[in-house]
């Protein structure tokens, strides 16, 4: 094969196959360039950068929606532009993968951005001067998160994690004059860069031992090497644990969660919303992708009994690591949330606890992979559904915190005392969000938690890791009870405690522009608890990555 034909085939593949399925990311990238160019042009400077960002996000959401609708078996028939997307397609020579999970998480992220920019407009951070920088970093981070959801090669895994992290470091220090914000930025950057370095070293070990960086090829090579046992398996386990360090950092899983409460407290509530919703969704998608990619049963047929034993050992190792991290993360997050007096810090620990619930679901996926593919599909679907509801719940919580900060000049829980007298609407909205975060019916959080726990029950019944899954189920149930108290404590302060004297009694009504935003975020939380079949159909589609 000569150079010319290689170039031609690469070019054809890029232009006809890869780029059309990459248009969501392209729209985001073009918006970033536009945002940065527009602030240099005198005439375009007068345009508010939030609207440029919103325009780009509208395109990205439209593309992501059409990609999801074009999938075979999508519940709404063929999309408007009539393009049918393939169920599984490697892009750019195997660096990225387009599949239902990619399409789902991309749509989730684009939809999140479409709600997030109006929220920042209503809450007033960033101001107009910083707007272009802020939105460029938000979109850049979201671009990295889209890549995390579609990574199919260890290089893209690492690059995507860094592309999502580096803008987040800068975002958490975006309030330049505040001591707490600069401290949050420094802590996040130092911890994050350290975790990324360790993850990269782990990637180098795994790639070197397996002789490839391409995830499906790794899945083929891995079982035989693990089945042989010996020193190479030790190196692989070490490398795998180092990669788990990087992923745990992104998921804010214990023991790599230290940054999370500090960053959430120090940074603006707007940044906290971005980190807690978008970053978590992408990290969970990457975890599911790595777990299902490595543990895929396709490789089993090739290598005989040694490979089968190796694959079983690999799965067992993954289930064990994820399950232990999940149980500890969940429990510690919920227990530490008790003594908090700052609302953002409480939400940070709540985020950690929810990362634990999501990892419980991921452990169920890993446990079910080998034995029951249909059940594993349902487990992935449960996670995808959880992420969808979590978007509305946590964005709603942070939006309320940000709007109350603008009124009360405080984010302490004590300053919310007696809020029900001046602004009852916002207290009801907060109640809906917090009760949904607990996971009580009839709200969206209940359905999500029910689906995740039912996939764990399936793992108890069907998988080989039965005792571990039973422990996870008990831990998850107990944690839900524990979490009841600290969420309800906030509501108790808001409704029963007498208001302080020094508080400006300016009410925050739901019948205003910012109030309408809160309503728009809270109504889906209640509605998805009852009419959840549409989102679940999408989530089931996302679950079809496991075969």
């Amino acid at each position: 094969m000569d150079l010319g034909s290689i170039l031609t085939s690469t070019l054809t593949d890029t232009m006809t196959v890869s780029l059309p399925l990459f248009r969501t990311e392209l729209a985001l990238a073009a918006t970033i360039v536009l945002l940065l160019v527009c602030r240099m042009l005198p005439l375009a400077r007068r345009l508010d950068s939030a609207f440029i960002a919103l325009g780009g996000i509208a395109f990205a959401t439209w593309f992501a929606w059409n990609d999801l609708r074009g999938l075979p078996g999508a519940p709404w028939g063929t999309p408007a532009d009539g393009v049918v997307t393939p169920l599984r397609q490697e892009l750019f020579g195997g660096l990225l993968l387009f599949d239902p999970l990619t399409a789902y998480v991309r749509l989730l992220l684009a939809g999140f951005l479409a709600l997030y920019v109006p929220f920042t407009l209503a809450s007033g951070i960033p101001d107009r001067e910083d707007g272009a920088d802020f939105y460029a970093m938000v979109l850049g981070g979201a671009l990295g998160m889209c890549l995390m959801a579609s990574a199919n090669h260890l290089l893209t895994v690492f690059l995507a994690v860094e592309m999502a992290s580096v803008p987040s470091y800068a975002l958490s220090a975006v309030l330049k004059g505040r001591k707490a914000a600069s401290e949050a930025g420094l802590k996040y950057a130092v911890y994050g860069a350290g975790a990324a370095g360790i993850m990269l070293y782990g990637i180098s070990l795994v790639a070197g031992v397996l002789g490839t960086c391409h995830l499906p090829t790794m899945a083929v090579e891995l079982p035989a090497i693990v089945g042989e046992g010996g020193g190479r398996t030790l190196v692989l386990a070490l490398g795998g644990l180092m990669i788990a360090v990087g992923l745990s950092f992104k998921l804010s899983a214990v023991p790599f969660h230290f940054w999370c409460p500090d960053v959430f407290e120090g940074a603006a509530a707007e940044v906290g919303a971005f980190l807690s919703v978008a970053s978590k969704a992408a990290a969970v998608a990457l975890l599911v992708r790595l777990v299902s990619g490595i543990g895929e049963p396709v490789a089993e047929a090739a290598g005989g009994p040694v490979a089968a034993a190796g694959l079983a050992a690999t799965r067992q190792f993954m289930v064990f690591v994820i399950a232990v991290l999940a149980a500890v993360t969940c429990t510690l997050g919920n227990l530490a949330a008790y003594g908090q007096t700052n609302m953002k810090r409480l939400l940070a620990y709540s985020t950690i606890a929810h990362a634990g619930y999501l990892m419980i679901g991921a452990a169920a996926v890993a446990a079910l992979l080998g034995t029951r593919p249909e059940a594993a599909q349902r487990a992935v679907a449960a996670l995808a559904f959880y992420l969808g509801t979590y978007l509305f719940m946590n964005l709603g919580a942070f939006a309320i915190v940000a709007l109350l900060r603008n009124r009360l000049r405080s984010e302490e829980i004590a300053s919310y005392a007696g809020l029900i007298r001046s602004s009852p609407g916002i207290v009801i909205a907060m109640a809906v969000v917090l009760v949904s975060l607990i996971g009580l019916p009839p709200l969206a959080g209940f359905v999500a938690k029910f689906l995740v726990f039912s996939s764990v029950v399936e793992a108890v019944r069907l998988s080989t890791a039965q005792p571990l899954m039973l422990v996870l189920l008990v831990v998850g149930g107990l944690n839900t009870v524990i979490s009841l108290f600290y969420y309800l404590k906030v509501l108790k302060v808001m409704t029963f405690d007498p208001p302080g004297d020094d508080r400006p009694s300016e009410p925050l009504s739901l019948v205003s522009l910012s109030g309408a935003l809160v309503t728009g975020l809270v109504v889906p939380v209640a509605a998805l608890g009852i009419f959840w079949s549409g989102l679940y159909a999408c989530a089931r589609l996302a679950g079809r990555i496991v075969s």
Binding site: A173, R178, K179, S182, L186, T212, G231, V235, G266, Q340
Partner: protein, 130 residues
């Protein structure tokens, strides 16, 4: 120096990465990478100056880079082992660029921290806790 490397010479064959003899194989490079990695981690854990911590991170990234480049060469591999080919060198180049970008952001954040606290001691970043 020989006394320091002697235990490694025993460890590397145990891990199945080939002996530390003549001619130099991938193991020699892995030893260099591992030393860089450990130096970096120790640096990150012990330095109290934010710039020192950032230097430790650079050492960790470059330790991984040495591994990648060594794994990329087909002539260094032990018998029967696959090299990762050009992927390794491509990753190394990407990591160099990325380390520069990360250092730029981290230094800007450190400067901002200095403006607010008049120090770059990471132990002084203790306002947020609980």
């Amino acid at each position: 120096m020989t006394a320091m490397i002697a235990p490694l010479a025993w460890v590397c064959p145990v891990f199945g990465l080939g002996p530390l003899g003549h001619p130099p194989g991938v193991s020699h490079y892995l030893v260099v990478g591992a030393i860089l990695f450990v130096c970096g981690v120790v640096c990150m854990a012990t330095k109290r100056n934010a710039l020192g911590v950032l230097m430790g991170i650079e050492l960790v990234l470059n330790g991984a880079n040495v591994n990648f480049v060594a794994f990329a060469s087909p002539w260094l591999q032990a018998d029967g082992a696959r090299s990762i080919g050009l992927d390794g060198q491509a990753i190394a180049v990407f990591v160099i660029v990325l380390a520069a970008a990360e250092a730029a952001v981290a230094l800007a954040i450190t400067l901002n921290f200095y403006n607010n606290h008049a120090t770059v001691d990471v132990d002084r970043a203790d306002d947020l806790k609980g």
